[in-house]
């Protein structure tokens, strides 16, 4: 059963150097209160894994603007000037990863797989330094798991067992990130009694969730 904590308590779990998976895409489905608490705390030297770096003043981009991030694995930084500037100045190290590959690599870690073979990136600079494996006459890249100490998840509702449901496209990468963080903190609009969310509607089972934070707090 996940513990219900405040955003401040959640932020205090994070130490410099930690790797954090962030759910969300272009600030939709981003755990804004957790991000705000982390900014207030000021913890730096963090490694961010996210499918896009959002905006300078919205979503995970705020952590980049506030210079708390030392490295990022992401598929897109085009909406965030701060991440581009810090990449160019060498302050931040960015690994650009095709979005589908990023998601499969994160899923692989959460699912206990040692890697996956994908055709994505073959014949491009993405294949640099990676093992190529031919299966039935077609080349694939061996892509390795991406692990992290934490995942910051944004969901719509949780029940007291930590079962999560999401709101429309705010679901996006959240269920995948939730599979993989060693410690998973979910920011939710509402925490309801068990039984309120029908067992068949659950998207992220509570086994993945360690802490719940109320978005309104």
């Amino acid at each position: 059963m996940p513990k219900i904590i405040s955003p401040k308590e959640a932020a205090s779990l994070i130490k410099p150097g930690h790797r954090i998976l962030f759910g969300g895409f272009l600030a939709v489905g981003a755990a804004e209160r957790l991000v705000d608490a982390l900014i207030e705390k000021g913890t730096n030297n963090l490694h961010m894994i996210v499918i896009a770096t959002d905006y300078d003043q919205r979503g995970v981009g705020k952590l980049i603007t506030n210079k708390q991030i030392k490295s990022i694995q992401t598929s897109h930084i085009g909406t965030n000037k701060a991440s581009q500037a810090q990449m160019n100045s060498g302050e931040i190290e960015i690994e650009l990863i095709p979005q589908g590959t990023l998601l499969e690599r994160v899923r692989a870690a959460g699912a206990g797989l040692g890697g996956i073979l994908t055709p994505t990136g073959i014949g491009t600079i993405v294949e640099e330094g990676k093992q190529k494996i031919n299966v039935k006459g077609k080349d694939y890249l061996l892509e390795l798991p991406i692990e992290a100490e934490f995942a910051f998840i944004r969901a719509y509702k949780a029940d007291k067992h930590g079962n999560l449901i999401y709101n429309k496209t705010a679901r996006n990468s959240n269920p995948t990130m939730a599979m993989t963080g060693k410690t998973v903190i979910a920011e939710v609009d509402e925490i309801v009694e068990c039984g309120v969310i029908p067992a068949e509607d659950v998207i992220t089972p509570g086994i993945f969730v360690n802490y719940l934070v109320r978005h309104g707090e």
């Binding site: 895409f25 272009l26 939709v28 489905g29 499918i51 896009a52 992401t74 598929s75 897109h76 930084i77 085009g78 909406t79 581009q84 160019n88 650009l96 095709p98 979005q99 589908g100 590959t101 998601l103 499969e104 994160v106 899923r107 994908t118 055709p119 994505t120 990136g121 073959i122 014949g123 491009t124 600079i125 993405v126 999401y166 709101n167 429309k168 496209t169 705010a170 679901r171 996006n172 990468s173 959240n174 269920p175 995948t176 998207i203």
Partner: protein, 219 residues
């Protein structure tokens, strides 16, 4: 022709590639124009890779749902019978070849169907996002772009010189001047825009064009 007219011309022609019941992903920018020109009687289901099948019309001002956007960050609506899924399943759909068509912009395309559309060395690199997966997996990859860049240089080359998005993936190129099919033999000029001519298309194209027997006109 101004850019807006070109965009419309291209969008109209791309839309004619869509068959009833097709599942389609439209890239950001020019490709979205085709959604405005779906032929009558044809129903197409639009996916957005951030996790929706069944993208509806743009919401009216004030009716936006903060939790409902497309992959370009724009507000959208859902059609009746839409579905939401996580990004990982969304890319399984994409990579697994379940989409009938993806329409993307390009910086360069070449005679082998190689595509460059994600980075210019020395410039700001936004990232490939989902483009590499989309073109690696989708059944039919349609490039929707202006025939020449701002300086008037051909974007259809013998060989791409920008970093590739993927190798040998493009099936069809639709520009403001021409419709070109990528075949094992090379690039086949299938159609020419009404406002121009076969000669002008050939002149404006760096790549070798195979002239099909019956070059049609589109507008």
């Amino acid at each position: 022709m101004d850019r807006k007219e070109k965009r419309k011309l291209i969008g109209k022609r791309v839309a004619q590639e869509m068959k009833d019941g097709d599942f389609v992903n439209l890239g950001i920018g020019m490709p979205t124009e085709s959604a405005n020109h779906i032929p009558e009687g044809v129903t197409v289901y639009f996916q957005s890779e951030n996790g929706i099948m069944g993208v509806g019309a743009t919401p009216e001002k004030g009716q936006e749902d903060q939790n409902l956007i497309n992959a370009g960050g724009g507000f959208i609506t859902e059609i009746q019978g839409a579905s939401y899924f996580d990004s990982c399943l969304s890319f399984a759909i994409i990579r697994g070849g379940h989409l009938d068509m993806t329409v993307l912009g390009a910086l360069q395309v070449d005679e082998e169907g190689n595509l460059a559309n994600w980075m210019i060395p020395g410039k700001l690199v936004p990232g490939m996002g989902g483009a590499m997966d989309l073109v690696s997996g989708t059944k039919k990859v349609v490039i929707s772009m202006e025939h020449c860049d701002k300086k008037g240089n051909s974007k259809i080359l013998k060989k791409c010189n920008l970093p590739l998005t993927a190798q040998k993936v493009v099936n069809l190129i639709v520009t403001d001047m021409a419709v070109i099919e990528v075949t094992a033999e090379g690039l086949v000029l299938k159609e020419v825009a009404e406002w121009t001519s076969v000669e002008d298309v050939v002149k404006a194209t760096d790549a070798n064009l195979i002239l099909s027997n019956k070059i049609k006109v589109f507008k």
